[in-house]
Structures are given as C-alpha cells and as structure tokens.
Amino acid sequence: MPERIFIKSACQISCQSPLAEEWIDSPVALSGNYLRSQDPKFSDFIPPMHSRRMGLLLKRAVVTSEVALRKAGITVPDAIITGTALGCMENTEKFLGKICREGENMLSPTDFMQSTHNTISSLIAIRLHANGYNCTYSHGESSFGSALLDAAVQMRLGKIRNALVGCHDETTEETFRILTHAGYFSEGEAPATELSVSMVLSTDPDGALCELRSVSVENSHSRTADDVYREALAKAGLADFRGDVKILSDEGFSPIFGKNLSLPAAEVYAGAQMVGNGRCSVAVIVGGSCGRSRTVVVLSEKC
C-alpha cells in the first residue's frame, strides 16, 4: 500500500524576507534587472569557525535546511536530497578564473572542494551526522523536481519515512553577466535572482503543512496548460474536485521570486505555505514550463 506523503515544513532565502512568509500578504516589489537575496544573520545559525569556508550558497543551504528540520521536529532525516542547477558559482568562478588568468599552479583546494555540486548535500550531512541516503540532482530547472520525485518514490517504496529536500542556486555578478549574454536573463523580464529552498517530507501527517498528492517531471512537449493541469488533478485523484484550487507557475511567481533555475522549488514552497495557511485547498504547481522540462506537483489539505 503506497504511503501517503506530507510536507511538514518549508522555508526559503530569496529576494523576499528570509525564513518568513510575509511575501504572501505583503511581497517586496521587485525592480531592476538583478537582485541578490536578503540574507539572515548567518552567525545566528552557524559558528564562524564552521562558516568560514562557506560561500553564500552553502550558508543559505545550511540555514534553510536546519530551520526546516527544526520546524518539522526532526533531528536527523532518513535522506538528504538536493537540487542545484549551477552549483556553487562563486567557488567555480574563483577556481576557474585563477586557472585562466594565472595558470595551473598554486590553486586553492578549498575553492575546488566547495565548487562540486554535491558539496551542499555533503556539508548538511556532516553537520547533522546523517548517514542515510544522500543524493544531488543538477539538471537545469528540473533539478528540484528530480530531487522531490526521488524522495517521493523512496517513500512510496517504504525505503525512508522522511527526507530533507532542497534546491539552491546563486547568481553572482559574474553569473548574471554571463547568463544575460547567453540570453537566459533579459531586460524587461523579471529580475535575475537567486534562491534557497528547503523542505521536509514525511509519512507522518502530524503538524504538516499539506499532503503531497503527486509529483512528475517530464520533458516539455507541446501540451496545453489546461491539459497539464487537468491531467495533474486526475493523477492526484482530484479529477472531480470542485473546491478552491490555486495554480502556481513561473508566470505567477517570477514577480515575487524573480527569475532563476530554482524557481519551481519556490513554487512548491509557496504552494505548501498557502495550503498550510488555508489560502487554498489544493495547489497545482506547473514549474519550469519555459524551459526544456516541466515539474508538476499537486498539494492538498491533509484529510
């Protein structure tokens, strides 16, 4: 019998007020082409001796993870599954920049070590002494969807009872310039931003924000938005649902969280918070549609 899955907690560090849900009623209006995240005081969460080697992305990932776990009342999760489209760009740029400018000698091992994509999941596990399943997905805008799907599949197979699932991306000034040149960011669209989202999934409904009814990731084909939405509800057993359904998509949420490859994670976080706070009964997230793959998630009230 497949397990039911719940989202116990979810939090974010973004261009909105960090680790809070003020954006629901009073979002900060976004302006300009490029916005960095609003960061909490990291020293409140991580002692300087531990954070000294961490760039912003790692600090954000550690803080959102530990806050989400605390809110869920879990000390050591059964699994840590992370998505990141580009990884720690600050470290990558430093290491690569040095090689290109100064040659292949006297390079810093710290920059290399912190630049590998799985350093996020690894660092979280080291801090928590978590020996369970640990994985990292890096596949553009479906990085988060892949991570969430993995967690859901393992819970349905009965391999794990809970999981810390997150998605983290940073947009340094260099990344912003390069991706603007590449055509990913452009003027007139939502500003380029960065994002850290962590959430805790569990088979235990106690205190949960919502139920995770279904998750799928598909290579984008030409289906209408309506078809996607109807099929998602049917797959979640909600084909006949006539209550309050909110659709969350890149279009609706880039005015709030800006544009970045982790946006689908923000949409699932937002959906969980909105269902959890009684703003709607069902949330259908269709994330990353502008890209090559689409993440479709259905959340509902616990019943």
């Binding site: 978590a130 994985c135 892949s146």
Partner: protein, 401 residues
C-alpha cells in the same frame, strides 16, 4: 528476495577501449590504458591519466556529428557508450520515448567553458556554448542523437554519480513509473578537475597501485558507461535477454569530511550492507567485489576497513580496475558495473594491476589470472567526495534461473 531487475543492455568506453568487446580483451590481457595525455591541454602533462585514445574530431566522426559543431567531450564519450547500450538492448525510438534517461556527471561541459571563460566574462562568446556549461546541457547532448526520452535528469554526486543513477533508475522501475530506464554516467578529463585533484594533492605522478603499500594517489581517467534496466514483465514481453541482473543496491553518507573518508569506512560499510540486505543475500554469497580502490592512501585504507567489517575473515576476491582506466570519477560506477557484467559472463576475475605488496590492514587483491570462475553475485563500489558512498549488487543470469 533479490530484486532481480534485468539489465538488458550495456555500453562502455574508457582508456582501455571503445565498446565491451575491446574492453574485455584489455581486461583479459591486463593492458592498462594509463599514460601521458594526448588531447587534454594542460601544464601538468607529466601526470599519467586514463585518457580515451580518441580525439574529439574522431569521436564526432564516429557519431556522425559535423566537425564544426561544438559538443562537450563528456557528451561525445557518453554518445559512444549510450549507442552500444541502446543497441544491445534493442530499443526502438518508440521505446525511448517512453523511457527515462538518468546520467551522472560532475564536470558537464566545463571543457568548453574553460577555453572561453575570460571571453564570457568580458561579454564575448557564443551564447549557445555558454548554455552547454551545466550538467543538463551535457546530458541532453548525450541523449539527443537517439530520440526524446520521456524523462531525463542528471545526478551529480562526484565519483558515485553513475552508480546513483543506476540506483535511481531501479527505484523508478520498482515504483512502476517506467518500464525502461537507461542509467549510467560520463565524464571527460578537464583542466578544471585535473587541477582540482592536484590542489588536493591526491594525484600520483607514477601509475597508480591500488591497495599497494607504496600507493601514493590516483590517476585521473575519463569515459562513459550505461546500462539499460527493464522491468521483468516488460523485458519478457519484448523478448529482451538479460545480460545480468541488478539484485540490490545501497546509498549511504559517510558524513565525515568533504574530501576524506572516515577511518572505519562507515559510509562504505553502510552502503554495502544495504546492498546485501536489499538483495536478501549474505556476505558469503558474494563471489567478487569490484572495489572503488582509487589508490589514495586514505580510500584504500578506509575501504579495506569497511570490507573487513562486512566480510570478516571470509574475504571474497576483491580487485580495483582503476589501474586499467584511471579514476573515471562520475562515470566510474557504471563503467565498473559493465566490467562486472563482463567478468560474470566470461568467468574471470579482473586482476588488480599495479599491486605488489599489502599494507597493514589492507586487503590482498586479485593479483593472478583466473579463468573459468563461477561468479554468481558481485558487489561494485563507488565512493564519492562528500561521503556519497554507493554499492551495486549485480547477479549473473545463471543465479536468477
């Protein structure tokens, strides 16, 4: 009870050959592919590497890709292995359109970026090439020649990426989401990670010697390996003949340090234990272990400790094949899984070349030829930086009758 997921296709490319046939010859002849690099431009040309003996131009020609199209080397290698895997599985484009593709890589298209990074920073550079930098770009470039998979993703857990891709693929099949999953990984050499490993001082300027007393570091390698996993009922309907079975698997985190393994090999031990448990087998059922065996002082000591915790005094034959290929990082889990399949089918134990003397606490690896060996169940280890430790349990077709 063993999971018994059929592996109906496989493909591999590394320093010891393009394709299973050539690879098998190299393994039987104990021929190492490690030597000076020919194609990678680097100031560290003195570092021995397991470079695939094909230039990008040659790889493009083999794949029918126009020479003026720029494709990450990781994808060019992946295309070779994927072509063989899909071919041996007999998959049509229609099968592919309903299947999932899970690929492991860490460097992605960084070989393209590292030649152009300063241009990118000053606002120059071809936008389409910039978008080839990330992991997804490489995974998509690898699968594109073969059709549109229903779902693709990239796993990036350093040296256990490909093994974890196979694990995720198996879970997707067991959960009933897909009948066919093509899983594995690819990684090319790059200045970026050659220098990264060099800055960590874990490369050997001599050829590597896994589990040897004098071991002093690893040699980097490159390559790709993919397997085609299929649900038993679908394989039967399609008349697909398994090459081997995936009976069990484990993924655990060492949670000790970002670049070193715990002295007792906690993550490795837990991963192997889970692989045995999920297969419903005991240590005495294992006929061969393909070790991660990178030849670093740290890994080989840590892995030996973990192996002893699993097998005690009844150690099965163990060998590392990194003396042949070098450490193929993200691709190692799938390349070495294919080596295990070859070993099971041909009845030989790959020799741990480069080994002469045991170290205290170290396992004594396979160091002599053997043929006609009955190999029923195999453990294949892949341990990544960050403590991402994974283990696959593969079984021969004879054990599953």
């Amino acid at each position: 009870m063993p999971l018994g997921i059929p592996i109906v296709g496989a493909g591999v490319i590394s320093a010891i050959g393009n394709g299973m046939h050539r690879t098998l010859e190299s393994l039987l002849e104990k021929r190492s592919g490690i030597g000076p690099v020919r194609y990678l431009t680097t100031e560290h040309g003195d570092l021995p590497c397991g470079e695939v003996p094909l230039s990008n131009a040659e790889l493009k020609e083999l794949a029918g890709i126009p020479q003026d199209r720029i494709v990450p080397r990781t994808a060019l290698l992946g295309i070779q292995a994927l072509h063989e895997a899909l071919g041996t599985a007999g998959l049509s484009r229609e099968d592919i359109s309903k299947a999932a593709f899970i690929s492991g890589t860490t460097v992605g298209g960084i070989d393209i970026t590292e030649d152009r990074f300063l241009d990118y920073l000053s606002g120059k550079g071809d936008p389409s090439l910039i978008l080839l930098h990330d992991c997804r770009g490489t995974t998509d470039a690898t699968s594109a020649p073969f059709g549109d998979f229903a779902f693709s993703t990239t796993i990036s857990t350093a040296c256990s990426s490909a093994a974890n891709a196979i694990i995720y693929g198996a879970d997707l099949i067991r959960a009933g989401l897909f009948d066919i999953v093509v899983a594995g990984g690819a990684e090319s050499l790059s200045r970026y990670h050659l220098n990264g490993f060099n800055s960590l001082m874990i490369l050997d300027r001599e050829k590597c010697r896994p589990f040897d007393e004098t071991r002093n570091g690893l040699n980097l390698g490159e390559g790709a390996g993919y397997v085609v996993l299929e649900s038993p009922s679908h394989a039967e309907k399609r008349g697909a003949k398994p090459l081997a079975f995936l009976s069990g698997y484990g993924n655990a985190c060492d949670a000790f340090h970002q670049t070193a393994s715990s002295p007792e090999g906690d993550g490795a031990f837990l991963a192997m234990k889970e692989a045995l448990q999920t297969a419903g087998l005991t240590p005495s059922d294992i006929d061969y272990v393909n070790a991660h065996g990178t030849s670093t002082p740290n890994n080989d000591a840590s892995e030996s400790a973990a192996l002893r915790r699993i097998f005690g005094d009844n150690m099965p034959p163990v060998s590392s094949t990194k003396g042949y290929t070098g450490h193929t990082t993200s691709a190692s889990g799938s390349i070495e899984a294919v080596f295990c399949i070859l070993a099971m089918r041909e009845g030989f134990l790959p020799v741990n070349i480069g080994w002469k003397t045991p170290f205290e606490g170290g396992i004594v690896p396979v160091h002599e030829d053997s043929r006609g060996v009955r190999i029923g169940h195999v453990l294949c280890n892949a341990f990544g930086f960050g403590g991402n430790d994974s283990s696959l349990l593969l079984s021969s077709v004879n054990t599953m009758k």
